[in-house]
Subunit: 413 residues, 2 copies
């Protein structure tokens, strides 16, 4: 999670400046990751004096956001410094991904490291939304128990949901069959019921592909890639756009819906109400059907991967055709956005060896700049690190990193 | 041209702070437009003291960036203030649009107001690029003569070009038949040849749809619309994306190429090398052909408009079909970007009464959020104010507005 380290403007008052500088220093240490953060290094990075940084570091050590250990030589003249790290205990973020056929819950610490993970595979279709969210709250409650054993205290929850999410509700999630579901409210009530007597955690919600894209941005090792289109193949085809390191949410929070870009205006009816959407050609169900694999869900995908690896002609052909359809729609998106890269996640990740070439071929022929070359590195598989639950948990932590003072005492959960 | 009025950070030195504050004040006065800017009003707006603003205003008056006139009552107690305006003389921007069948040159003043305009309709296809640019330089030179008569002194030139533009060159402009044309260099040399002995003007270049979109943003009266997709129907179909008030240029400067989003993968060959691009269905040539109008260019478009107005069935049908194709491609773009609005310019502007309904119908059926309603105001015609030459000229002025001190003496041209 890289972040912009810019001092405040001149009009801020003293307390605000100090709180902001505590955040600057904490994020500077966090950004070092496995590297060695020292007071001198942090001072150089954030543009404050060594004395100011020392005072800020003391406060962060006292309030439990930082720990220090050992001596490190900075390579410059002078006293050796001690190495600073973000604390492995204290405030934490809880991310809860509710998807079509699984629920996955993740707890991350200040560094964004995943510390607890609990995933249950179950079919959420045909179950009333309140029941699905109550089940997810149960899984979250068990995760919280594990977190507390590690002295991690989640300060908030972010829900990752497969649909159009705004104002705390799922406006529409065609593959779950959800319409106007007040997901935050239902989840919060269920979590309180699971954990009576504990402080309520603030709950927010976001589209799952958006959160997976943020996780990719923060933890995916993308290096200089700051603008990318992210596609995740699930039962639906989710999408998200990151531009200059920021998620593009759109005017109503509904950007990124590449699964519903039309491939053939007279094609098969889509659950969204339109016809011939990309999802009908490259979504999991279409892919399994074309490959002749019976049974959906994780088992179906595992079977598809097995057959493709074994060279089964029908399976390989189905994946190649999905790749062509992806490439066709992606070429339009690339002409529109000219991103650094297109990142394919979900079921596409493991299918890349069979998917990438036909997709690349369409892209090469149709990207007008002539700057798309097969195997040129602009089409890439997502990292394993970039999943929606971790992105959700890390999103919660952005609040803590932005103003650690507000979270200085561990919340009791 | 609204702009962000934010004071500098604490690390800037005194001279830098004063230069930045001069820019703040100048832009605050400019943003008032036809309103009454007073020292007190500016002080309130930019968050500086009245005394500081007075000193900055004095300097801007002395150096000719502002003028003041009359007395104005602010409605508050105290002395009446004098009304401040940006000067109508002094530094100016020169915008030169070189399109397929015309060249249009515009000079704007500090307020962004178009003060001189010279347009020549001519067919630039089949003429060597150097010759086209020399002709454009000749038109620009005549415009400069008119500008100087009004005591306007252009400080730079921006070229608006119909193709992929980066690094000062047109990488590809399929409809002009240009490939790797060093446009800035050729234009600068030709302008110097036209105006020997005068100071050379810095030349920059940008895609014409990008500049038209900026003009729409700055001068189009879009009010709260900050994110939009802009399409301009010309011989090609140009496009641009504005997100949160900023042009999205993309990783290589090639974003916005909606004209080359594929409609039918096996459709007609496009000049870009791909097949079935939107341009082949909704571009000017395709539209005139489908409508049965002979002859291209401005005359053909005028004839098409005449026939559509007269209710000619073939012409009306052709425009409706183009609208459907636009709507189909736009639905994908809206699903991807969720913009506040889609703005249609160029030949589409006058055709909106016949184009909008079929486009809206496709959009309504295919935008997954369900937030696209026919006639809901998200599909709109561009303003007359938003053209590429004015956008180009105004782009030059952003430098002057950002640091007026650097332009305090009129350049001699």
């Amino acid at each position: 999670m890289k972040s912009n380290l810019t001092p405040l403007g001149p009009k801020a008052d003293k307390d605000t400046v100090r709180r902001s500088n505590l955040s600057l220093v904490l994020r500077a240490v966090r950004d070092e990751g496995e590297g060695e953060a020292t007071r001198a290094g942090v001072a150089a990075r954030v543009g404050l004096t060594r004395a100011a940084v020392s005072s800020l570091v003391e406060q962060l050590l006292e309030t439990g956001f930082l720990t220090e250990s050992g001596k490190t030589f900075s390579g410059q003249a002078g006293r050796p410094g001690t190495a600073l790290k973000t604390a492995r205990t204290g405030p934490a973020g809880l991310g809860v991904e509710v998807n079509i056929d699984y629920v996955s819950v993740c707890v991350v610490d200040l560094a964004g490291t995943g510390r607890v993970r609990l995933t249950e595979h179950l079919d959420n279709r045909g179950t009333p939304p309140a029941e699905v969210l109550a089940r997810a709250a149960g899984i979250a409650a068990r995760t919280l128990d594990s977190a507390r054993e590690q002295e991690l205290y989640p300060v908030g929850v972010a829900l990752a949901l497969p649909g159009l999410v705004s104002g705390g509700a799922v406006r529409q999630a065609p593959n779950l069959g959800w319409n106007q579901v007040p997901a935050e409210e239902l989840f919060a009530a269920a979590l309180t019921a699971e954990h009576p007597g504990h402080q309520e955690l603030p709950v927010r919600s976001e589209n799952e592909a958006n959160l997976a894209a943020l996780a990719e941005l923060w933890f995916g090792g993308l290096e200089r890639i700051r603008s990318f289109l992210y596609l995740t193949g699930e039962i639906g085809v989710g999408g998200a756009l990151v531009i200059d390191g920021e998620l593009l949410r759109g005017a109503h929070g509904f950007a990124g819906e590449i699964g519903h870009v039309v491939v053939d205006p007279d094609g098969p009816q889509c659950r969204c109400g339109s016809r011939g959407c990309l999802e009908q050609y490259a979504g999991q169900a279409a892919l399994l059907r074309a490959a002749g694999v019976d049974g959906g869900g994780g088992l179906g995908v595992a079977e598809l991967e097995k057959r493709v690896r074994a060279g089964d002609a029908r399976a390989v052909g189905a994946v190649a055709e999905a790749g062509r359809m992806l490439g066709r729609v992606l070429s339009g998106a690339v002409n529109l956005l000219d991103p650094d890269a297109v990142v394919l996640g979900g079921i596409y990740r493991n299918l890349m060896p069979w998917l990438a070439a036909p997709a690349d071929e369409e892209l090469t022929g149709r990207v007008v700049s002539g700057l798309w070359a097969p195997g040129g590195g602009r089409l890439r598989a997502s990292s394993v690190a970039g999943d929606a639950a971790r992105g959700a948990a890390a999103l919660v932590m952005t609040d803590v990193l932005a103003d650690p003072v507000a979270y200085a005492r561990p919340a009791t959960v």
